[in-house]
Structure formats: C-alpha cells, structure tokens
C-alpha cells in the first residue's frame, strides 16, 4: 500500500518537476518570475488535443505541441520581457506584463475551445489506455509508465544539455553574470530566447502529460498547478533545477500520501503545510540559486 502510494507520488512528482523547472530556469537567468508559464502549460495541452483531433498520432501531436510551446515561450519573451529588459525596468514590471500575456493566452484559449472540461478523443491512447502492468505488489497503467518515462527522459536531456553542451554553459554563464557573458561574446538575447524555449517546452510537455493522466484539459488547469509550481521552486531554492526536481517529488509524494492516509479534502493543505515546515527550517530553500549555475 505504502509502496504503491509512493510510486503514484513519483508519477505526479515527475510531471510537477517538468512544470516547475520552467520557472526556475527563467528565474535563474533573468531573476524574474514568469507568471505566463501556467498559461503556456494550459495552451499546450489544448494544442495537443486539437492536433490529435485533427487526426495526428499522439506521439507526433505531442512533439508538435511541445515545439509550439517553446515558440510561444520565445514570443512571450519578445512581447513581455525583452522590451522591458532593454529599458532596465527591474523585476516587478516584467512580472506584471507576464500576467498580461497569461490573460491574453487564456482569452484566446477560451475563444477557441470554450469553457468546461475537454478530453482527448477516445482511442487516443491506443493500447496504453487498457489493462494494468503488475510489478510485484505494484500496479500501474501503461500510461503511468509512459508519463514517467517521458518526464524522466526530458529531465535527463535537460541535465545533459546544461552540463555538457555549449548551450547549457552559455545559459549558466548568463545566469551567473550577464556582463561577463557578454564580454565573452555570448549573444545574450539569443541565449535568453533559447532559455524561454526550453522552459516553455518543458512546461507545455507537463501540460500534455497532466491532460492525459486526468483525461481532462480545461482553462483552469493552469491556475490549479501554478501555485504548486511556485511553491516547488521556492522549496527547492529559486533558480536551482535540482532543487525544483527534489521539491516536486516531495510535493507529489506528500499529496498522494495525504489523499491515501488522511483525506483528499486536506490534500493541498497538508502539501503546503509540509512545504511551509521545510521552509521554516531552510528559509532559502533546499538548494540555493547557485545550483543552476553549477548544474
């Protein structure tokens, strides 16, 4: 029972991690909070539904929707952040303009898809939707395994990119010292655009995976995960990718356990209570901002 719950927490935590990494990447590089991240999370899930509805196979629809999310992230930066950055507008004004973009994205999604719960067309999952896989006493759906696999693969790819590629080093250099990075010949605007692409693509992927997991996509799905994502990055330490991943798995586990052993109505209260307790003990989060830079 406990093992099964922890395994369920693992699935949830993996998707939370994908989502929360987006906040922490952008914060690490620009020191700003991107409050349009949850809107991109939601819009990408709708894009995937539309693509599947248009007859594309699920894997292709996910791939296209994730690229769409990344491009939406670049557009978000050009519209909401770049003009303010050029004027040295500080960190509070971009926060507000990202809320503006979030409202705009929400408006477009409402216009295109309308309110209420939307589902992937029946049969989208194919064989993944049927039967359960047994592993000792544990039971999973094929979808659980795919979601966990996709989430871990994306995080593994990100870890590799950040550690071992010139793009990852460029992102960390810009996060650490923008002036030094410019003097080393890094194109700051290009590096920032790529950071937004990665952050938004991961957030979008999380949106699709959550949509598949609950078989429900709605305009409100962004606001439901937004606070959790922010709590995770604060818990992990702002700007720390590893911290966000650890924080996400903690939240996932606590949520699942509180549903199993207390009651589902206290799920969020218990989750946020545990986070609060951790923050009392470690006010700057589990890992500091430096962790993005050392990746």
């Amino acid at each position: 029972m406990l093992a099964q719950q922890l395994a369920n927490g693992l699935f949830l935590g993996a998707v939370y991690a994908l989502f929360a990494i987006g906040y922490t990447l952008v914060f690490g590089v620009l020191d700003i909070l991107n409050l349009a991240h949850a809107a991109i999370f939601m819009a990408t899930a709708f894009a995937a539904i539309a693509l599947v509805g248009a007859g594309l196979p699920l894997a292709l629809a996910i791939a296209i929707a994730v690229v769409f999310a990344g491009l939406l992230g670049i557009a978000l930066d050009r519209v909401a952040f770049a003009p303010l950055r050029a004027r040295n507008a500080g960190t509070l004004v971009p926060l507000i303009s990202s809320i503006g973009v979030a409202i705009a994205i929400g408006g477009v999604a409402r216009g295109l898809f309308g309110p209420g719960e939307h589902r992937f067309p029946s049969g989208t999952l194919g064989p993944l939707g049927e039967g359960r896989i047994h592993l000792g006493a544990l039971a999973f759906s094929g979808l659980d395994i795919v979601i966990l696999g996709v989430a871990l693969a994306l995080m593994g790819t990100l870890a590799y990119v950040m550690r071992a590629t010139s793009l990852g080093r460029a992102i960390r250099a810009v996060a650490e010292d923008r002036v030094a990075a410019a003097l080393l010949g890094l194109d700051l605007e290009r590096t920032i655009a790529l950071t937004f692409f990665i952050a938004s693509a991961l957030g979008g992927a999380a949106g699709i995976l959550i949509g598949l997991q609950y078989d429900s996509v709605s305009l409100e799905m962004g606001s439901r995960i937004e606070l959790k994502g922010l709590a995770i990055v604060i818990l992990g330490g702002m700007g720390s990718i590893t911290g966000a991943v650890i924080g996400a798995f903690i939240l996932g586990a606590v949520e699942v356990l509180s549903v199993a052993y207390i009651t589902s109505s206290y799920r969020d209260a218990v989750a946020f209570g545990v986070m609060f307790a951790i923050l009392v003990l470690r006010p700057s989060g589990l890992l500091g901002k430096r962790a993005l830079r050392t990746a």
């Binding site: 080093r169 250099a173 990075a181 410019a182 003097l183 010949g185 890094l186």
Partner: protein, 242 residues
C-alpha cells in the same frame, strides 16, 4: 590603419556624461596604455568600447569596421577581448568551463587544442581545471580571466586594471604575461593604476583626466615628463597613483 580608432566619443550614465569627447588610436601589434586618476573615466571608456555602454556621440572603429552601434557579442567576435575590472570570472563554474564558455565563440578553432595550449602557458590553471573558479586565489583568477580572453586568439586584448588587488610578486607575473602576449604580436590596450609599470611597457600612452585625454605620447616620453612624474609616479603617495 589603426586597429582601434575612437573619435570624439561621448558616453555616460543617466544624466551624467563621463566621457567628454575621447579620441585615441591603438596601432596593430602595439601596446597602448591609458593611465589616470580614479574616476577619470578609464573603465567607462573600456565599457563603451565593448558596447556595454552606449556611445552618445562619436565613433568607434575596430579593424576597419564602424562598431559604434554593434552589439557587444559582435565586438568580441570581431576580435576584441576585454578582461574587465574585477575579473568577472564565473565563480560557480569550473576553471575549464570558464574557458569552454569563451572558446565556444571560435567555431573555426578546436576548443580542446586551444585550452591545452593555454594550460601549457598557465600550468596553475591546469592543476585547478576541475575546481570552481570562485575558489581560486586572486592572482589565479586574474590569470584565468586573461586566459579566457586569449582562448579566442583576439586581435586586441583589452585589460582593465589587471594588477588591482594583487601582491607585488603576482603583479610582476601578470605584467610578464602581458609582455609575452605583446611579443606574440597581439595588440594590447592596457588600463592600469600602476602608471610606472604601464608606461614602461607601453609603445604609446594616453593620460585621462576627468573624462578627457589630457596628454598623449610614447610611453618613454610620458614617463619622463615632470608633471606626469609628480601626478602619477610619485612614490609613497598611493592616492595619486590611482
């Protein structure tokens, strides 16, 4: 043709103009020094050259091209490497990662070969390659900052106060590196508080005062002038060495 040609450059911060029309040239394969008191605008001038600060008037030409409005990364790409005041190494990244970040600019060179060549010149960096750059001593950090600038084989190496905060023995070491780099044919623009050492090394030098060029001449010429000796080479009066 001069490698770097600055004509009547004006720049500043907010409403304050710091540079009131600077004109100077750096010739190819030469060491050009800029000396002057603290607050004369030397660092501001270098920031404007690297385009971290907008020119309000005047022009900057580098290697035959007008770069007055070019983005800062384009300046580096054109062959100008700037070792800034305070070194600005990336402290959380390893020594080698600092070099790799810089080397990524030159896709035509093999980063591994270039970095190995620099390790041969700066063996201490080789022994520290896996350490976080922030854990190095001040002298090692300065060496890393210079190595990081050299890894792209610049046409012009710009150094802002490379000896600042270093013990005399390390200062001598840094000046040895500067001299050897010049002997390899790299052009150098050196801003230095240690005016005596800078003038001794310089082919040509400028004295900055309150955002203008007050004097210019060959290094030997300036070092021999009594007003320079009094203002910038005075012994025992640290405040005027600035």
């Amino acid at each position: 043709m001069s490698l770097l040609e600055i004509t009547d450059l004006r720049a500043g911060y907010g409403r304050i103009e710091v540079l009131h029309g600077i004109t100077l040239r750096v010739e190819p394969h030469a060491l050009c020094a800029i000396v002057g008191a603290n607050g004369a605008g030397k660092t501001t001038l270098l920031l404007a050259i690297s385009r971290l600060l907008d020119a309000r008037a005047g022009t900057i030409r580098f290697d035959g091209r007008d770069v007055t409005r070019a983005p800062s990364h384009a300046i580096v790409r054109a062959g100008l490497s700037h070792v800034p005041e305070g070194r600005r190494i990336l402290p959380a990244m390893s020594v080698e990662e600092n070099l790799l970040v810089a080397a990524a600019l030159r896709k035509d060179l093999d980063a591994r070969t270039e970095i190995t060549a620099l390790y041969d010149r700066f063996p201490i960096l080789d022994t520290r390659r896996r350490l976080a750059a922030g854990s190095l001593s001040g002298g090692e950090q300065q060496m890393l900052a210079i190595a990081r600038a050299l890894v792209v084989r610049p046409k012009l190496l710009v150094l802002d106060e490379p000896s600042m905060g270093l013990a005399p023995k390390l200062v001598a070491q840094i000046f040895d590196i500067v001299a050897s780099e010049r002997a390899r044919g790299t052009s150098i623009l050196l801003v230095e508080q240690n005016a005596r050492k800078a003038l001794a090394l310089a082919d040509y030098a400028y004295v900055m005062e309150r955002g203008t060029i007050a004097l210019e001449g060959t290094g030997a010429d300036l070092a021999g002038r009594p007003e320079i000796a009094a203002a910038y080479l005075g012994d025992g009066d640290r405040s005027r060495l600035g």
